[in-house]
Symmetry: C2
Subunit: 470 residues, 2 copies
Amino acid sequence: LAETGPAGVGASETSAARRRAPIALYGLTPTVEAAVRAAIAADRPGQIRSLVQPLHSADVADLLERLDDAQRRRVIDAIRRHFDPEILSHLDDSVREEVIELLGAQDVAAAVSELETDDAVDLIEDLDDDIRRRVLAALPAAERVLVEQSLTYPEESAGRLMRREVAAIPQGWTVGQTIDVMRTDQALPDDFNELCVVNGEGRLVGMVALSRLLRANRPVRVTDMMATDFKRIPPTMDREEVAFLFRQYGLVTAPVVDDAGALLGVITVDDVVTVIEEESEEDLMRLGGVGDADIHASPYQTAGRRIRWLVATFVNAVIASTVISQFEASIQQIVTLAVLMPIVAAMGGNAGMQVVTVVVRALATKELSSANALRVIGKELAVGAINGVVFAVLLGTLAGLWFANPGIGLVLAGAMVFNMLWAGLAGTLIPLSLARLGMDPAIGAGPFLTTTTDVLGFFSFLGLATLFLL
Amino acid sequence: LAETGPAGVGASETSAARRRAPIALYGLTPTVEAAVRAAIAADRPGQIRSLVQPLHSADVADLLERLDDAQRRRVIDAIRRHFDPEILSHLDDSVREEVIELLGAQDVAAAVSELETDDAVDLIEDLDDDIRRRVLAALPAAERVLVEQSLTYPEESAGRLMRREVAAIPQGWTVGQTIDVMRTDQALPDDFNELCVVNGEGRLVGMVALSRLLRANRPVRVTDMMATDFKRIPPTMDREEVAFLFRQYGLVTAPVVDDAGALLGVITVDDVVTVIEEESEEDLMRLGGVGDADIHASPYQTAGRRIRWLVATFVNAVIASTVISQFEASIQQIVTLAVLMPIVAAMGGNAGMQVVTVVVRALATKELSSANALRVIGKELAVGAINGVVFAVLLGTLAGLWFANPGIGLVLAGAMVFNMLWAGLAGTLIPLSLARLGMDPAIGAGPFLTTTTDVLGFFSFLGLATLFLL
């Protein structure tokens, strides 16, 4: 963040102040939340209802997430009869499961039938088999068919993301005809910004933005004003790639089209915003070793999910320990080695994780590809060399003075340069190789990298010391 | 990611395959890129132009980012006369600076005058004072005023993000009148999905979605069909908070309104997508210790930016070393301590970073507040206890058997439980305290945390060993 410019200082001050302040325009204010908690404690369902009902569905979801199990049950019981189905779409997975259990299959089915197909699919795909079957059975037949069709597409694909309710018109129409029919057609979605133009076989031939339709003259034929140069998304495309296209080309609506060109549905930017957030959160969480984190999961669930990463750390630490154990004799002679050896490993590990973070992110945003991989590796080696020399001088001098032993300083400096270079090389090569193998670099790169930097850090420092100081 | 469900296996297989495949529908294919590089090498400006011009501006930006300085100059020279101003909006900071220098103030001003105000402001705010003055001076007066007004709002505020070109109508109009005027009004923005309804004093009184306008009957007055219950964004609101509101409430367009209620501009979801991405990238990069990363920056710039985090690591490592140096006598007697001591620090540090990652993210998404902080701390302590016991048993047994010394195993187990509990407590308290103090928890929490887990890890293990084994 640039801290310069005329508004620089003021801006960062107000930003800090705002961090402390409650969020403006956010419906679930601390006052409302406290009032709901008080109404729950006093066991007043009527009061709970009158506090919760004016809230936006997303705010009700936040409220439910913040309550404990017993409180949640009270709120659900109070609002059950007027339950806004959108609330379910906004809930985190673990809380959603609980709320669905509290509501029961019948009430969930009623809620789902009011949702648009994309939200319905998003909800149903996560349900357990048994309740999923019961909810599907309770849906109106027409909607059930659409939802079941969407569920045939792979998880996390465009087919799951698309809305089936599409505003489409035949290619023969004029602007005037279109506007007149739109005034009377009840089957149209509530909100839409683009019309799809289809031919007699249901193939998509063009798109018309409403703002352009409104500004065209009534006798103009839609085929003469429609856009034909737009992205047609196949239903099997990975949602991460869909999100990439929306970001890259600033899309607001994109049609989903099958191999034959038939219009299947549309994806809108609001769904993609969720995907973008979830995907970058996924990278963050995976790099942090948390996996699929959910702040509302129970301690047992959470401990279980995190244990995989800790096992990787454990294996890594044991490997590093076996390296150290090879040098027990050297450490026995110069105990100072034991004092300094964690420094090399820590510096190498952190420098390497800097590189891994940048490379994982660049792979996710497609900024890094095989075309520029060599240049990036070269650059990271250069960065490693620069910072290696800087910290070699700093740490070498410090250690030499601390223990009044220039030899120790030189050995530490040498190990530092070597390990920082390695951090630059391994920090690029490991995530690139994982991606090439079709694995997620955000998951594997961290543990792999720190194992190598630890092992090489200890080995280079203790090895150089054994060679030159004994 | 759920790996179950009917499409589970197939889905993850195709996803892996897709990671290797080039991105479908992405304009800058490897073939195009290779052809451009060949045309540059052969010094054929005409060929460069005919390859680059059909590309989307975002793809041209990607191309420029991937080229080196000399190649970039060739491309800019080839397309200078038909330079699409949108390209500048899509470029990363460091490459943008270079391209602006290559274009010169006059050409940049011409480009900026074709952009919408929000994109123009986004571009101009990053320019150096000198070139900024020259670009502003070269803008048409009407646009200059709008841009300069936007620049008076704080950096990263709603005022900088908003577009000044607004489709607004007076409150007295009917649907028919509105449609008729829209057909003839040339001053309207190209694309918009909502109309603002303003009263005689320019105050915003309502919003009308185009899809609703189109479906209303011509004689209906817009005031009778407009929405009045929507979020009015103040121009000083932090853009992170704007993004939160768009996500939370699924907004597509939101009006920016001053204290008196006057309409200043609108913020659209496509600008917010960029903010959401940048903000979660910021958290990722800060947690990874990279600061403001830019894969296209030079090695010197990059090394300089990363050095701060490495200095923090350095200070941390030196503090940890002084702790170890207090136990030199113990290590001299039992060298095995030196072999095992990095394990405790590594496990504590990684468990703590898991907690920090979750807490930083929950603070950013407002899922964590003072209302539920105590519950989260309690949960993380429980997780620490569970995983502490799991790894105490595992590691204690392993170490006891490895060195045929049950005492070493017990000491390691005790230090492990203690350090995992501390990781849970410090991992929540440190980011929460930083946020309370108005600092960014994503920057400070990592170094603070690992210093404490390292110091306590070494201290508890070596201390317990000194107490019980000597």
